[in-house]
Amino acid sequence: MSANLSVEINGLKFKNPVLTASGCFSYGEEASEIYDLSLLGGVVTKSLTYLPREGHPPPKVHETASGMLNAIGLTNVGLERFLSEKLPFLAGNDTNCIVSIAGSRLEEYARLAERLSDEEDVDALEVNISCPNVDEGGLEFGAYPEPAGKVIAAVKDKFPRPLIAKLSPNVTDIVNIARSVTDSGADSISLINTLVGTAIDVKTRSFKLSNGFGGLSGPAIKPVALAMVYKVASAIKVPVIGIGGISSASDAIEFLLAGAIAVQVGTACFFDPLAPVKIIDGIREYLEDNNFDDVNDIIGTVRQ
């Protein structure tokens, strides 16, 4: 008999612990031309804002050593077009649909959550708190425990199904932030978002990205992500979703052993479109080779 791969977050069942990460899968349509999305544990959409956004001008991306920088800038279709054009497609696949939301004001998060709560096809929300808080001088919501907690509380109030708080790694004490968001009602925590980084063109003596700075992702950041996931999973009760540089089953298993109940695959979808599917198969194989019949049995079992 094949090992059980399904995991649960606050009553929401995932057929397997492999999801695609926000901003690295658009709204799922493109990848569905390559494989059946119903294979996935879940899809997290590109972060949605209330109104559509064009995002930053090009150049928006730069290749780095085993990683990449992006300054996409929350390019997205906005809430209304998402509901009319994107959600019906996603809902047609037998996988969990997690909508990532982002905003520059507390009310934007709250309005998004309220409207999305009406849509039964939205299985969970992931709250991207790595956005500049325009009301408080443009500092990221996710940079300090208090504003991070406030966003989650505002969303929790409006959305009755599972709420995932997605943390920024650019902080001194990630466990503090994780505590604050769980105290404010987050049912789960996902981490990490990208590390702040930049690159300079020595020929033109200007930044490589139009926005100056960008977010570093990909295999380069895996060790940082894994350390943060371990720390948060060890300290916090709610289920943790691991993200950062995962490109193989072995990478994903490291995160599960560190305490993540599920993982998200981001940048790897760019260079290996089938990565999520290969990871699911690889986890199954690992469990069988090591005589586990349930993926839940390995979660958080790393030995010191």
């Binding site: 901003g23 690295c24 899968f25 658009s26 349509e29 493109e30 990848a31 031309e33 390559i34 494989y35 590109k46 804002t49 209330y50 109104l51 559509p52 956004r53 064009e54 995002g55 001008p57 090009p58 150049p59 928006k60 991306v61 730069h62 290749e63 780095t64 050593a65 085993s66 990683g67 990449m68 992006n70 996409i72 800038g73 390019t75 906005g78 990909g218 295999p219 380069a220 490109s247 940048t267 979808c269 760019f270 260079f271 290996d272 479109p273 089938l274």
Partner: protein, 275 residues
């Protein structure tokens, strides 16, 4: 449209010139559905160095043999590794990608403007056009490069019997001058034609301006950085003129963005907001 992703085998490798290489792959499904102007993403290394795959236009699609070919110039890190592949090696490919050119119908007067590594998709487009009833000698094919050794000049191109006009910046082969120079001379006399162009951005920008000045229709195939190649990252986006009737947006940009890999790589003349 269905996209295929897998490991495909190199069936043939030939050197078009010292730094220009043709590779063929056994890739039946891709060969069957590919249209001119579409491209494939090739992962040149199984390591993370480089991280991103590299995009290459489909140069030929041989449905009988179930093969596709690309022609590429060794231009940097990734193409250098790709140039090291041998017949029999297998390599990760995703394709076909993007929207191709509209195929010209019989009776059209056509100019193909190929700068440097812009030749491959225009070769395939010419082939399709001729199969579609366009007379070979009604296609003016301008193929230009900095100098002779950079010129993409395979026999297949000559064999199509088009009105082939080679040019080099330094005059080391064909006419002396850029593709833009030759094109501008042509459209100075005649504007009842359609231009299909592929090449470096600087060339496309100039062509785009010339076309709009003369009110000539055309299609331009763009090149951009492509982390994914299939529309999921938005990294390849270019500015286009904003939609007249787009609604309110959150960031009030004066541009609209289109993904070159998904909405392109072929854009209508006049569509792109050049930098």
């Amino acid at each position: 449209m269905k996209k295929h992703c897998g490991r495909y085998t190199v069936t043939k490798k030939t050197f078009v010139s010292r730094s220009i290489i043709r590779l063929s792959f056994r890739a039946e499904e891709i060969s069957k559905s590919a249209i001119p102007g579409q491209f494939i993403q090739i992962r040149v290394s199984d390591s993370f160095s480089p991280l991103w795959p590299r995009p290459f236009s489909i140069y030929d699609a041989d449905t009988r043999r179930g093969e596709i070919s690309i022609i590429f110039k060794v231009a940097g890190y990734g193409t250098n590794l790709l140039g090291g592949k041998k017949e029999g090696d297998s390599i990760q490919i995703l394709g076909p990608l993007g929207n191709g050119f509209p195929i010209p119908a019989g009776g059209s007067a056509i100019v193909m403007a190929a700068g440097g590594i812009g030749m491959p998709p225009l070769y395939l487009l010419s082939k399709f056009a001729i199969e579609n009833g366009v007379r070979p000698n009604s296609i003016i094919f301008i193929s230009g490069a900095r100098n002779k050794s950079q010129l993409f000049d395979p026999v297949e191109l000559t064999e199509l019997n088009m009105d082939l006009r080679k040019c080099t910046d330094d005059g080391s082969e064909g006419e002396k001058g850029t593709v833009v120079d030759i094109l501008e001379r042509l459209i100075g006399n005649e504007n009842n034609l359609t231009v299909y162009a592929c090449g470096p951005s600087a060339m496309l920008k100039k062509i785009d301006r010339s076309l709009s000045e003369k009110n000539i229709s055309g299609f331009l195939s763009l090149e951009e950085l492509m982390p994914c190649g299939y529309g999921i990252c938005s990294g390849c986006a270019v500015k286009v003129f904003p939609d007249e009737n787009r609604g309110e947006t959150d960031d009030n940009r004066d541009y609209h963005l289109k993904r070159v890999c998904a909405e392109g790589p072929v854009f209508k003349a006049g569509e792109v907001m050049w930098q």
